[in-house]
Symmetry: C2
Subunit: 493 residues, 2 copies
């Protein structure tokens, strides 16, 4: 076994350490010299690029276009929407000066006090304020609506406790900001984008999600309703994986964005915003990976197939390489990304461990006997099952395997989650089950007080009110008060 | 004539105002509420996305991968490379605090003095320092080299006088940062990336460029050599359109990045960096556009073909639409992006002017007579020439036109430049020619003093020492001192 494998903490031993080890050892990301900010390394960034491409295509298919708004936001903009400022002013990076100068003592550079800004600027924690301030000039008539814009950007929230991908001060994301003439249209957009996220999670990330609506206390600051997709990680914790907010006319009013409708009546524009971030990489890791390393869904794997030659002499390597060249060409013709690793400074065993760690979905190996028999050794990363198959038509078999792995890891995650969602009616049972790392469907009386009490006593929060679930009324498990339907409780990242 | 056309200032009247008008009226970008920062509107951003895709593909073809480094840089990092801090500390946004709080008088939010950072952070003006601080941990042996990384990011330089795309406080760019084991390899990389930029400019932007090396005073702060591509705008000014820097061991030494070579000897790593930005959109506009609006190279045009129906009744519109549907399908099958604008609230004349303004390369129009005759009216944006052609095989003709326009506007720009590069031997003639907006090849004695004097007296700077040019020695036109070769002088953006 290679060194890296031995050093990867097992999930059973310490789940949190396993995650941290894996992110570092699989070369996905690392902490930077700036507190709370990460460096996304090439392998991690390649996954993000694949996610971006897929999401961007889906946004465009649903009629959206991209644009770019400023990184910096005047401090006063934040205060214009009352809830928004409460949610975001507490943890933001503030630019106060625009110049450095040489220190008088020659020790380096210092802030030039003469270059103080009249109004401080905030590094965007999210862009509703700067965007709606801009939309004011773009919107006069119903003919200017809808505006369906998305932005790919970096944002910053000054988090005190950070974890690579899951919670960092700076992160990359996309944020959609749309403006509409009617409430109905904005609500429809909000739900449509929640569905886009759910489809992306399930079809690309192979990660089953539960669609729902947030309770008031978990809503986005400034939203009327927040729609979410929630995924179950292997430790049973929930991870919010994408949110879509119906903002009502809150930002239209705060930034005075009005339009004249078909009847000549003036009204405030209706808004939505929706975002997904590099946090999804954390979700991807924690959904599928195992004690050997990453398990990546083929659709998002930077390298889908790796081919490792096993040789005793340079002559034999040349023969293998010749044969492999043909396979590589055929795989590429099928649109499959493939790497032939014939580096001579590492042994096959080391390479096997390395690509397992990095989650390459399919590994092919070819040695002297394979040459003689016209065979290839194939290993699939999800099950670690090895088999020797004929080299003829291997490209079609690999294609089948990639599709099968994509389906299989989704099903595995789905089955895992299915056995870990329970319906509970008493608070005692709830407390027991929550310790086991389960998702719990329980009745809730709809009050913030009950929600807070449960959170304080069990660390579980209401993840969402699921869109698709039994809507039979009942009584709150804590207070006994009437409940309209069951909600989804879990501990969460 | 539509309103927009009339309002566009002509180039002859006021070139600078023409540019400003065009950026705004063609919906490319606008100024934001934050001084010096722009909003890139969807149509402008769509051009940037096309540029990004093409450049990114070229970077990957040449072996590079993408990654992401933090937005914020500790102040002390800037001071580690002496020239670099002089170049960049003067104009940067400084983060000093990480929290706002409610103002005691309820008037909004104020900076929380308790949340002052121990060390101030700078919004990256460029990322050499944070990246080389990171590379220190990635590089131990020659086996870790080369590192060939690119980053797509926003950067910020606190410019006092800004112009949309050409000079803004925040802009989008890519910055490549590579590390090598030998000087030769790093120099080769520097030149390779200059060639990639030149190829992109000429093949995609249809913008001819001159490749050269910067004089010492025009070098990037911290570089040993800066390689540039320089383009001529329609007013005869030069626009630096991409730079590639050979950084020697300056950053290796500043950040103590050493490696053990094959012989077991320790040395500092060799560096390059190279970047191109949203400024290229400004270059694109000023190279090809005319008094009617944008002229976009087909390869970068968000919409390559627009089709406008001309109808007298809804019945006729239905017939035209049916015919157009077939054409749209065929165009799309050829990979051509096409928009059918059948909006009923604008007249054809308005639409014609609008798409001319927006630089759509080919416009098709179809009316009643076209239906009868099985014809289409075709207009190409570069020459504004209209013709009526048969509808059979129109898709192939459009494809030919797009390729022809791409070639034609390159040739036009090339011919324009050819007539405006002159060789000059006396300072008097130089002063005369520089007023005419020409590029001037003149002898230079190699001193900063002469360069500065010419700049002060004529506002012309040495754009570069061209790579391909007459290398016959001569005498400096100003001082009469010996000169190794002619350099390229021009006024510049």
């Amino acid at each position: 076994m290679a060194k890296e494998l031995k050093e990867l903490t097992s999930r059973a031993e310490n789940y949190s350490q396993w995650y941290q080890d894996l992110v570092i050892k699989a070369d996905l990301a690392e902490n930077s010299a700036v507190r709370g900010c990460m460096v996304i390394k090439p392998y991690g960034y390649a996954i993000w690029e694949k996610m971006q491409r897929a999401l961007d295509d889906m946004f465009k298919e649903t009629g959206h276009v991209n644009a770019y708004f400023p990184l910096l936001i005047p401090k006063s903009f934040l205060s214009k929407e009352a809830d928004h400022v409460e949610g975001f002013a507490k943890e933001c990076a503030v630019v106060t000066h625009y110049r450095l100068k040489n220190a008088p003592d020659g020790s380096g550079v210092v802030v030039d006090p003469a270059a103080k800004l009249e109004e401080e600027l905030i590094i965007r924690p999210t862009s509703e304020t700067i965007i709606w301030n801009t939309y004011r000039n773009w919107i006069q008539s119903y003919r200017d609506l809808p505006i369906l814009i998305n932005q790919w950007a970096n944002v910053m929230r000054w988090e005190m406790r950070t974890r690579l991908f899951l919670r960092t001060a700076e992160f990359l994301w996309q944020e959609g900001h749309t403006a509409h003439a009617t409430r109905e249209e904005a609500e429809e957009e909000t739900k449509k984008m929640q569905s886009v996220y759910a489809r992306f999670a399930e079809e690309w990330m192979a990660m089953p999600v539960i669609k729902g609506v947030k309770s008031e206390s978990e809503r986005f600051a400034g939203a009327v309703d927040t729609y979410t997709i929630e995924a179950m990680m292997q430790d049973g914790k929930a991870l919010q994986s994408g949110t879509s907010h119906f903002l009502g006319q809150n930002f239209g009013k705060a930034f005075d964005v009005t339009f004249v409708d078909k009847e000549g009546k003036t009204d405030y524009a209706w808004a939505t915003s929706w975002g997904a971030s590099t946090r999804l990489i954390g979700a991807l890791i924690m959904t599928h990976s195992d004690d050997n390393g990453l398990v990546l869904p083929p659709k998002l794997a930077p390298i889908q197939v790796v081919i490792v030659p096993i040789y005793r002499s340079l002559e034999q390597l040349a023969e293998i390489s010749k044969k492999v060249d043909g396979i590589v060409t055929k795989l590429k013709a099928l649109g499959i990304s493939v790497k032939y690793d014939d580096a001579d400074n590492r042994k096959p065993g080391w390479k096997f461990a390395e690509y397992e760690l990095k989650g390459v979905p399919v590994r092919l190996a070819m040695g002297g006997r394979d040459l003689e028999n016209n065979t290839v050794e194939v290993m699939r990363r999800d099950t670690l099952v090895k088999e020797t198959v004929t080299a003829d038509g291997i490209e079609e078999y690999v294609k089948f395997l990639l599709e099968d792995i994509q389906k299989n890891i989704f099903q595995k995650a789905y089955d895992f989650r299915s056995t870990r969602i329970v319906t509970v009616d008493t608070y005692d049972e709830f407390k027991e089950k929550i310790e086991e790392g389960l998702f719990i469907l329980a009745h809730w009386d709809g009050t913030v007080e009950t929600e807070e009490r449960v959170k304080e006593e069990t660390k579980a929060t209401i993840r969402c009110i699921p869109l698709e679930s039994d809507k039979t009324p009942g009584v709150d498990m804590v207070t006994g008060k009437p409940s309209a339907c069951r909600v989804l409780y879990a501990r969460a990242y």
